[in-house]
Symmetry: C2
Subunit: 218 residues, 2 copies
């Protein structure tokens, strides 16, 4: 292993250890000494990578962003209609939040930060929902009975709620919970024809891939 590879591995271990600490104790209570100890490195090694706890937190948030964006990307294979891609993406993100402590702690930290930073994961999700529903409209999948902005708002609110509720009870982030929501919403938002082409359970081909972190490092 080269020096660079070792450094990258240490940085990754520190981010994961910090995510665990932030989730267990909250950002303010978490101690850098515990974070380095649980990552199996010296306090000096931590300070080589991160100047402060705030910098560790930003790294956890950034890693969460990478993890969640990757999950979203894998859930949208080419050739899938936009409503199915939206459904799939919500499933994939919920699964990632359930299974990956870095995604979970980083997303939560990002929600709680004052919003002054450049990274706003909730905003990113909202933009993603807006885009996919705009594409669904272009593909002629949306019923005209609904104002699109209302649909965007309902999807963003419900999925955000699943995350908050899932902090205490992970069942809220299960595939069943997400599917139940889509069973309520899709027949209202989609045309009759589109409805037959969307599976509320999601059709993520990446399901196995996104599940990996849950078992190896949840």
């Amino acid at each position: 292993m080269t020096k660079q590879e070792r450094a990258a591995r240490t940085r990754h271990a520190l981010i994961r250890s910090a995510a665990h600490a932030f989730e267990r104790q909250g950002y303010t209570q978490a101690r850098l000494a515990d974070i380095s100890a649980c990552a199996g490195v010296s306090p000096g090694a931590l300070h080589f990578h991160f100047e402060s706890k705030a910098e560790v937190a930003r790294a956890v948030e950034a890693a969460a962003g990478v993890s969640l964006r990757r999950a979203a990307w894998l859930a949208q294979p080419p050739g899938t209609n936009a409503l199915q891609r939206l459904t799939n993406t919500s499933h994939a993100l919920a699964e990632r939040l359930r299974g990956d402590v870095v995604a979970r702690a980083g997303f939560r930290l990002n929600c709680e930060s004052a919003g002054g930073g450049a990274l706003n994961l909730l905003r990113e999700w909202q933009t993603c929902v807006e885009q996919l529903l705009a594409e669904a409209a272009e593909e002629g999948l949306l019923a005209r009975r609904l104002v699109r902005a209302d649909t965007v708002s309902a999807v963003v609110a419900a999925t955000t709620g699943f995350e908050l509720l899932g902090r205490r009870d992970p069942e809220w982030l299960s595939g069943q919970s997400l599917a139940a929501f889509w069973r309520v919403l899709l027949p209202r938002a989609a045309t009759a024809a589109a409805l037959t082409a969307v599976d509320p359970d999601g059709t993520c081909p990446s399901r196995a891939e996104t599940r990996t972190p849950a078992t190896t490092a949840g």
Copy 2:
């Protein structure tokens, strides 16, 4: 003013001051000295009422519970159908969260606490939604096309999401946002006949009452 009245007034001022501090700085960063100073009382007076910061936080959560329950109660006048009562209650709670710093900070603290305490405001809201939808079913207002548990879950998730999103952008807790959600959901959940008897904007007669704290002490 009697001694008891003065004590009650001081306690109330401390709870409000603590709510402001918790909202601004978070529970861990908030300092008891600042809380007593902003309430215009001595640190000794604070310690007469509360043994610790944790006890102050529990008092803010309890006061939030009282405030939110009162708003919910006022939104459900007798003779109103159960779906309208549910719609009204969601509007009233959102308005209370928007306008009352104690309700807002206490609800948030309660969401973030480990869940070991007796008070669980999210759980209370979930039970309220379950009850009102059970009553709506008894009143014959619910369409059979939806499993009731799915509707409960969608309502709880979306309204919880509005609260989380409203922490950064109060617009999410506006009457318009809530009404948009109900316009999406009601035609799916209600029978055609019931739909004509439910106003997604809410019909809260208590609107003026619940709005008062916003202007006087928001």
